[in-house]
C-alpha cells in the first residue's frame, strides 16, 4: 500500500499546476454539452416551425387561387373561352411579384393540359396534371406535392360545368429557406457560447486548480530542500482546498514539532544546572536549524498569490459589453433626433458619439495610470465602473445625438480607467519572465471579447433593438464589476504605493527624437484613424446603406478581430525572430491603406470585406512591433522616464487619431458621399503610411543613442 502511494501519481499524466491538460478535457466537455443540444434543438424547432407554417401557406395559396377562379369565372361567364384569354401572363407576373412566397401560377383545361403557366416549366408539371385529369374537384380544391412544389388546384365552373383548373404552387422548402437565416444567428450564438465557456472554464481551472496548485508547487519547491517557512493560503471547500488543508497540517505538524523542540531546548538551556548539557542541547538546536528552516515569526508565513489571470474573465465580460454596440453605433446615432446646424452637420453628428467616446478614453488614459499607482487596481476598477455603467445605461436611454455623445464620453472615461486598472494589475502580478504571458492573456481576452461582442451585438440589436442592447451591456458590466470586486478582495492586495507623478515637461522632449515623432504622426495616428474613421464609422454606414441586416453587418465586421487575432501572434514571433519591427509597421500601414482603397476597384460589399481584412492584417502586423520598437527607438527616454511612461505617451498620442478618424470621415462623407469618404480616408491613411515607409529605411536597427547628444 505505502509503496504505491507516490507511484500512484504517475497513473494520471495530468499536471495539476498547469491549466492546459485539464482545460483541454473540460473544453471537450463544453463542446459535448453545448453543441449536440443546440443541433438537436434547432432541428426540432425547424421541423415544428415548418409544420406550423404549412397551414398558413395553404391559406395564402387558397386565397390567391379563389381570387383567380372568381376572375376566370367572370371572364368565361362573359363567353370568352379560357384558352383565348389575353393578358393572363402579365396578370400572373403582377401577382407573383406581389407574393414572393408563391412560386408559380397556372391554368389547365379540363383534360389537364397547361394553357397558361408562369414561374415554372411545363415539363415539371405536365405529367402530374394529365395524370389526375378527369378527377372531380370540390370547391376546396386539391393539394398535391409535385416535384419540389406544393400545388393547390381549384376548379373553374361555368354553369356548374368544370371548364378549367387554377393552379397555385409554392416551393416545398420555402419555409425552410425563410427560416434558414436564423441558422446564422444560431451559429453565432453557439460560437459565442463556446468562447464564453472557454473563458469561464479557464477561470474555473486557473482559480480553483492550477493557481492554488502553483502556490503549493512553490511551497513544495522550498520545503523539499528543508525550508518549512511558508504554507499556501488556500481556503476553498473543494478537493484542492481539502488537499491543501492536509498539506498544511503536515507542514504545521513539522513546524509544531520544531517549535516544541525549541521550547524544550530553551527550557533545558536556561533551567539545567549542568552547563555541558546546556551546550549539548544548543548543538542539537543548531543542527536542526542547519538542516531545516522555519519562519522566525513563530508560525509559517501564509502565501497568497495574485495571478494575472484573475482579471481575465471580468475583463473579457467588460470588453464584451462595450463591444456589443460596435456594429451599430453610427446607425443608432443616425436614428436619434439631431439638432443639425451649419457646424454640426448630420454626418458630423453621426460621427460624434464615436469621437467623444475615443476622447473619453484618451482623457481617462492620461491620468488613469497615476491614479492606479496611488489607489490600487481594485479601487480604480470600481471607480471606473461607475462612469462605465452610467454611460452605458444612459446611452440606451438617450433622446438625441448630443446626449448620446455625452454619455459615450463618460463611458469612454470608465473604459480607460477599467482597462488601465487591469493592465496595471497584470503588470504587478507578473515578473519579467512571465510578463509577456500576462499581457498575452490581456490581449487574448480583449480580442476574443471583441469577436464575441461585435457579432453578438449585431444579432442582439436586430432582435431587441439598439436601446435594450445597451441595457444588456450594462448588466454584463455589473457582472464583471461584481466578479472583479470579489476576486480582488480574495487576494491580499497590499498597501497602495504612493507613486511619484511624473512631470510632463521633460517627457515632452521626446518629440525632439524624430524617430518617435514620425512613428506617432505617420504610423500610430493613421492606424487609429483607419480603425475609428473607417471601421467603426464608415463600414457600418456603408453596409447598412447596402441593405445588409444588422446581424449580417456584425458578421462582416467580426472579420477584423478574427484576422487580427490570427495575424498578431505570427507577426509578434516574426518581429522577434527577424528584428524587422519598423518594416512590419510600415508594411502594415501600406496594406491597411491599400485595402481601404479597394473601393476604387470594386463595387458592393466586396471592397468593404477586403478593407476590413486588410485592416485586420495591418493592425495585426503592426500593433505589437510598434510597441516593441519603442525601447530601441527611444532608448534614452525609456531609461530616463521609464518604458511604461513612454509607452503610455504613445498610447495617448495615438488616440488623437482615434478622435480625428470619425470626424474626418464625416467631413468627407458630407462632401463626397459614402464611397467618396471611404476613398478619401483610405487615401489619407495610405499617403501617411507611404511617408512612414519612405522614412522607415532611415530608422536603422538596435538602440538609438544619438539623441543623448542632443539632451542637455
Amino acid at each position: 500500500m505505502k509503496s504505491n502511494a507516490l507511484t500512484g501519481l504517475r497513473e494520471g499524466a495530468m499536471r495539476l499546476d498547469s491549466s492546459r491538460s485539464l482545460l483541454i478535457r473540460l473544453l471537450m466537455l463544453a463542446v459535448l454539452v453545448l453543441v449536440p443540444p443546440m443541433v438537436i434543438g434547432s432541428y426540432r424547432a425547424l421541423d415544428n416551425f415548418k409544420r406550423g407554417l404549412g397551414p398558413e401557406m395553404d391559406l395564402k395559396a387558397a386565397a390567391i387561387a379563389r381570387d383567380l377562379v372568381a376572375q376566370l369565372e367572370r371572364a368565361v361567364g362573359f363567353g370568352i373561352p379560357v384558352d383565348k384569354l389575353v393578358g393572363v401572363d402579365e396578370f400572373f407576373a403582377q401577382v407573383l411579384s406581389a407574393n414572393p412566397e408563391i412560386r408559380y401560377l397556372g391554368i389547365t383545361d379540363a383534360k389537364g393540359d397547361i394553357l397558361f403557366l408562369r414561374g415554372a416549366l411545363s415539363e415539371q408539371l405536365n405529367d402530374a396534371y394529365r395524370g389526375r385529369s378527369g378527377r372531380a374537384l370540390d370547391d376546396s380544391g386539391l393539394k398535391a406535392n409535385i416535384a419540389d412544389f406544393v400545388d393547390l388546384a381549384l376548379p373553374v365552373h361555368v354553369r356548374d360545368v368544370p371548364v378549367a383548373q387554377v393552379h397555385v404552387g409554392f416551393d416545398q422548402d420555402y419555409v425552410a429557406a425563410q427560416l434558414f437565416g436564423i441558422f446564422y444567428d444560431i451559429a453565432v450564438v453557439l460560437v459565442v457560447s463556446l468562447i464564453i465557456a472557454f473563458e469561464v472554464l479557464l477561470f474555473v481551472v486557473v482559480f480553483n486548480v492550477s493557481g492554488p496548485m502553483k502556490l503549493v508547487a512553490e511551497v513544495v519547491a522550498h520545503a523539499r530542500r528543508g525550508d518549512f517557512t511558508r504554507v499556501p493560503g488556500i481556503t476553498s471547500a473543494d478537493e484542492v482546498g481539502h488537499f491543501v488543508r492536509i498539506f498544511n497540517s503536515a507542514m504545521r505538524q513539522v513546524d509544531g514539532a520544531y517549535r516544541g523542540l525549541m521550547a524544550y531546548i530553551d527550557e533545558v538551556r536556561s533551567g539545567h544546572f549542568d552547563r555541558e548539557v546546556a551546550g549539548q542541547v544548543s548543538e542539537i538546536a543548531d543542527r536542526v536549524r542547519f538542516l531545516f528552516r522555519f519562519h522566525p515569526s513563530g508560525a509559517p508565513l501564509v502565501l497568497r498569490e495574485k495571478l494575472s489571470s484573475d482579471v481575465r474573465l471580468p475583463l473579457f465580460l467588460f470588453i464584451f459589453a462595450e463591444e456589443l454596440s460596435r456594429a451599430f453605433m453610427p446607425l443608432y446615432a443616425q436614428a436619434l433626433p439631431s439638432p443639425a446646424g451649419w457646424l454640426l452637420t448630420p454626418e458630423l453628428l453621426i460621427a460624434l458619439p464615436i469621437a467623444v467616446f475615443m476622447a473619453g478614453i484618451a482623457v481617462g488614459s492620461l491620468w488613469a495610470g497615476a491614479v492606479t499607482e496611488r489607489l490600487g487596481s481594485r479601487k480604480v476598477f470600481q471607480f471606473g465602473l461607475a462612469p462605465a455603467v452610467l454611460g452605458c445605461v444612459m446611452s440606451g436611454l438617450a433622446h438625441g445625438v448630443i446626449e448620446l455623445s455625452l454619455w459615450r464620453g463618460i463611458a469612454g472615461l470608465g473604459y480607460a480607467l477599467v482597462t488601465v486598472a487591469c493592465q496595471s494589475y497584470i503588470s504587478k502580478t507578473t515578473v519579467d519572465s512571465n510578463r509577456a504571458t500576462g499581457l498575452g492573456s490581456y490581449v487574448g481576452a480583449v480580442l476574443t471579447a471583441a469577436i464575441c461582442g461585435t457579432v453578438a451585438g449585431g444579432v442582439l440589436a436586430e432582435r431587441i433593438g439598439f436601446g435594450p442592447t445597451f441595457f444588456v451591456s450594462t448588466a454584463l458590466i455589473l457582472v464583471s464589476g461584481w466578479l472583479l470586486s470579489h476576486l480582488l478582495a480574495v487576494v491580499d492586495h497590499g498597501a497602495p504605493v504612493a507613486a511619484p507623478v511624473p512631470s510632463g515637461r521633460p517627457l515632452l522632449r521626446i518629440f525632439a527624437n524624430w524617430r518617435f515623432t514620425v512613428l506617432v504622426l505617420f504610423a500610430a495616428i493613421p492606424a487609429k484613424m483607419a480603425l475609428t474613421g473607417y471601421f467603426f464609422f464608415l463600414v457600418p454606414l456603408t453596409l447598412w446603406n447596402s441593405d445588409h441586416s444588422l446581424a449580417e453587418l456584425a458578421r462582416i465586421m467580426v472579420l477584423y478581430p478574427l484576422v487580427m487575432l490570427a495575424v498578431s501572434s505570427q507577426s509578434t514571433r516574426l518581429a522577434d525572430q527577424m528584428g524587422w519591427r519598423i518594416g512590419q509597421v510600415a508594411l502594415g500601414g501600406l496594406i491597411g491603406g491599400a485595402g481601404i482603397l479597394s473601393m476604387l476597384a470594386f463595387d458592393g460589399t466586396l471592397p468593404l470585406v477586403i478593407g476590413i481584412v486588410c485592416l485586420g492584417v495591418s493592425h495585426g502586423m503592426s500593433a505589437s512591433p510598434q510597441l516593441a520598437a519603442i525601447p530601441d527607438i527611444c532608448w534614452i527616454e525609456c531609461n530616463r522616464h521609464g518604458r511604461t511612461q513612454v509607452l503610455a505617451l504613445l498610447r495617448t498620442l495615438e488616440r488623437v487619431g482615434s478622435v480625428i478618424g470619425p470626424l474626418l470621415a464625416a467631413a468627407f462623407l458630407l462632401h463626397w458621399g459614402v464611397k467618396g469618404a471611404v476613398i478619401g480616408l483610405g487615401a489619407v491613411v495610405l499617403a501617411m503610411a507611404a511617408i512612414f515607409a519612405m522614412v522607415a529605411g532611415a530608422y536603422g536597427s538596435g538602440p538609438h543613442l544619438e539623441t543623448e547628444e542632443d539632451v542637455p
Binding site: 495530468m14 495539476l16 457560447s193 474555473v204 478537493e239 492536509i246 524544550y264
Partner: protein, 259 residues
C-alpha cells in the same frame, strides 16, 4: 453544501447551456414569429387587395364610393370565409366608415392615425396596430388618381401565439427536456473528467498522511513531471524532518534526565 470541482464546473457549464438554449430559443421564436406574421399579413393584404380591386372597378365606372351597396355583401362574404378576421371596413377620405362587416359601426369614424397613410405621397399598402388588432389597409384610388378612402382588414394581435401556442409550448418542453438531459450528462461527465484530479490529490493526501505518521516511502525518482518529483522529495523531506526532530527531542529528553 460544499462546492466540489465537478460541481463548480457543472454549474458553470449548465448556466452557459441554459443561457445559450434560452437565447437560441428566443431568437428562433422571434424569427418564426416574423416569418409567420409576414405570411399572415401578406394573406390578409391580398384579401384586402381583392376587395380594393372590386371597389376601384366600380369607382372607375363613375360611381361614388358611398353608392357601392354591393361592397357590403363582398366584405361580409370575405369576413365569413375566415373566422380569424375581426372585421373589414371601408371608409372615405374623411375617415367616416361607409361599409363594415359589423353593420353597427357604419357611420362611425376611424382613428386619426388610419388616415395618415392616405396623405402620404406614395399610396402604398399600410399596416397599423390598433389595441387588440392588427390592421392592414390599402387606399382606394379612382382613375383620376384621387384617394377616395381605404379598405382595411382587422385581425387579432397574438394570432401566432394563439394559433400555434400548443406547438410552441410543446417545443419549449422539448428544449427544456434537452437542457435537463444534457445538464445531467454534464454533471456525470464533469465528475469523470475531474476524476483524474481527484485521484491525484487523493494519492498525494495519502502520501502526506503516511509521511506524518513516519511511514512514507522515499522519493520516487521516476516521477512524471517536475511537480511530482518535487512532491516526492517534499514528502521524504517532511518525513525526515519529523523523524529528525523526534530523534532530537528524544536526545534532549535523555540529556535533560542526566542529572
Amino acid at each position: 453544501m460544499s462546492w466540489s470541482l465537478a460541481r463548480k464546473v457543472s454549474a458553470a457549464l449548465i448556466a452557459i447551456l441554459v443561457c445559450t438554449m434560452m437565447v437560441t430559443a428566443l431568437f428562433g421564436f422571434f424569427k418564426f414569429q416574423d416569418v409567420m406574421s409576414e405570411l399572415v399579413r401578406s394573406r390578409y393584404s391580398f384579401v384586402a387587395f381583392t376587395i380594393k380591386q372590386k371597389v376601384e372597378d366600380s369607382l372607375n365606372l363613375g360611381f361614388a364610393l358611398r353608392q357601392l351597396r354591393q361592397v357590403q355583401e363582398t366584405i361580409e362574404l370575405e369576413k365569413a370565409r375566415d373566422e380569424q378576421v375581426q372585421g373589414i371596413e371601408i371608409f372615405d377620405a374623411k375617415g367616416e366608415i361607409l361599409f363594415n362587416s359589423d353593420r353597427g359601426r357604419i357611420g362611425a369614424s376611424v382613428p386619426e392615425n388610419w388616415l395618415l397613410p392616405l396623405s402620404a405621397a406614395s399610396l402604398q399598402p399600410f399596416a397599423v396596430l390598433d389595441e387588440d388588432s392588427n390592421v392592414v389597409g390599402l387606399p382606394l384610388v379612382n382613375n383620376l388618381g384621387k384617394v377616395e378612402g381605404a379598405v382595411v382588414l382587422l385581425y387579432p394581435t397574438g394570432y401566432v401565439e394563439r394559433e400555434l401556442g400548443p406547438m410552441l409550448w410543446r417545443l419549449a418542453g422539448e428544449i427544456a427536456g434537452l437542457v435537463g438531459v444534457f445538464s445531467l450528462l454534464t454533471v456525470m461527465v464533469a465528475s469523470v473528467a475531474l476524476g483524474a484530479v481527484r485521484q491525484r490529490l487523493h494519492v498525494m493526501e495519502h502520501a502526506l498522511l503516511l509521511a506524518s505518521g513516519g511511514e512514507a516511502p522515499l522519493a520516487d525518482t521516476a516521477a512524471v513531471d517536475e511537480f511530482d518529483g518535487h512532491f516526492g522529495e517534499f514528502v521524504a523531506k517532511t518525513r525526515e524532518a519529523v523523524e529528525h526532530i523526534k530523534a532530537s527531542t528524544d536526545e534532549v529528553e535523555r540529556l535533560d534526565r542526566l542529572a
